[in-house]
Symmetry: C2
Subunit: 255 residues, 2 copies
């Protein structure tokens, strides 16, 4: 009997649907019954994470904790949050629950380590708030990576616009913009562009982009970590330890 | 504040992910916060519905009721079940809960009524157990529809095989088989082939099949009904009444 994974979702909803599909795809199963039980709580009215970080808007933390409570009551045994920006509140969320919370950046770190070559030069495609809060920079510090982001104008017109288009249900339009942003990073010598916002793989997948294969998809990395957690809980060896263990480096934090 | 929809899923998991995505796609929203709250419980170890109906295997009903209980405890206000065959136990499930359960065949009936032309000659692509239990035939009786299914050999080698391939994580292979089955129905004068198993649209979508546009996708119909239920609960007019009202014709039932 597999343990139940809880997904705190809705940030945004299409990205949550995409993440849950990736959990299914990443599970080595040949029939329904071999899959892992998952409880996905899509709570779309969580206040905007980016506005809270950048403009001191209403904090999403109380509503995220309400979501955690519902998942706890339903007896899930670990939590995954398919939203990179929400990890700004990772430590606060960990304080609010005794359940382990898989960290999306740790899942990406595991993914980078598993690549056939070892990229050192990473690209970050993310919300402005994920970049400003240094969620990836701080969590991956000490690994020797260098980070490149798009120029401010490209971030606004390509990356952030692509994210918003996915949230508006127009992923294909977002996909074409995002391809330009990825190509610009590759032209600057980036070896591994990280799709560090869970809307971004939705955009590229919606147009069947060939660029997906050269990007690291943080959402799929988290899905793999979730499946590995479940596999390990069921008594099989897995690679989740690195994802669950507290990083020696504190994540960027509010409060 | 929207009411929370509960999804009793995992039958199968990829079809559940697809259904949840369709809920998001069918919602008229321009940002995260305009989407509806959904709790998706993917419980893949529910015993096989087809085996229970055809070979008197272990009943899935007790485990489905356990799933309902968890959704009730989490305070959802209606239930959707993205599995056609599971609707064999619809009446038993309704007896086990005070929550309304959207019926997938009623959702398809609404969809048929909304089509620009009124198809009379329907095709049914489904599990053998959905056909044998006459889940669609009995629920749509009185509407004057005629039903055509594929020949037994084609059902086994094309339709059931496509369903199993999706469950095995090989939807593209299933998509190519399913296209043949749909074409054979169209050649026999079927006006509206109904994808009456939630794995089937996953198969066609995975290969970007042009045949999707001429099929009625029961999973998307149920997603539309779910969004309409939520919209109506939020005080806006909608079309869910036909889906929620008890049909004057009893569905095919176990006892």
């Amino acid at each position: 009997m597999h343990s139940t994974l809880g997904v705190l979702g809705g940030m945004g909803p299409l990205a949550t649907a995409d993440f849950y599909r990736k959990i299914v795809e990443e599970t080595d199963a040949h029939c329904d019954q071999e899959h892992i039980p998952v409880l996905v709580y899509s709570l779309p009215d969580i206040p905007c994470r980016s506005t809270a970080i950048m403009d001191r808007g209403r904090s999403p933390l109380p509503r995220m904790i309400e979501g955690l409570r519902k998942l706890e009551q339903a007896k899930v045994e670990a939590i995954a949050i398919p939203c990179n920006t929400a990890h700004y509140w990772y430590r606060d969320l960990c304080k609010a629950t005794s359940l382990p919370i898989l960290h999306i950046v740790d899942a990406v770190a595991v993914e980078l380590q598993r690549m056939s070559y070892q990229p050192r030069h990473l690209g970050l495609l993310a919300t402005e708030s994920t970049l400003a809060a240094r969620i990836y920079h701080d969590r991956l510090a000490g690994h020797g990576y260098s980070f490149t982001v798009n120029a401010p104008d490209d971030r606004e017109k390509l990356v952030v616009r692509a994210i918003n288009l996915v949230k508006q249900g127009r992923p294909q339009e977002g996909g074409h913009l995002l391809e330009l942003a990825v190509r610009k990073l590759l032209d600057r010598g980036v070896e591994a562009p990280i799709l560090a916002c869970t809307e971004l793989p939705v955009a590229l997948e919606s147009i069947g982009s060939s660029l997906l294969s050269c990007c690291v998809d943080a959402s799929r990395a988290l899905a793999k970590a979730a499946v590995a957690w479940s596999t390990e809980r069921a008594g099989m060896p897995a690679m989740t330890r690195a994802v669950l263990a507290p990083s020696r480096l504190a994540p960027a934090q509010s409060s």
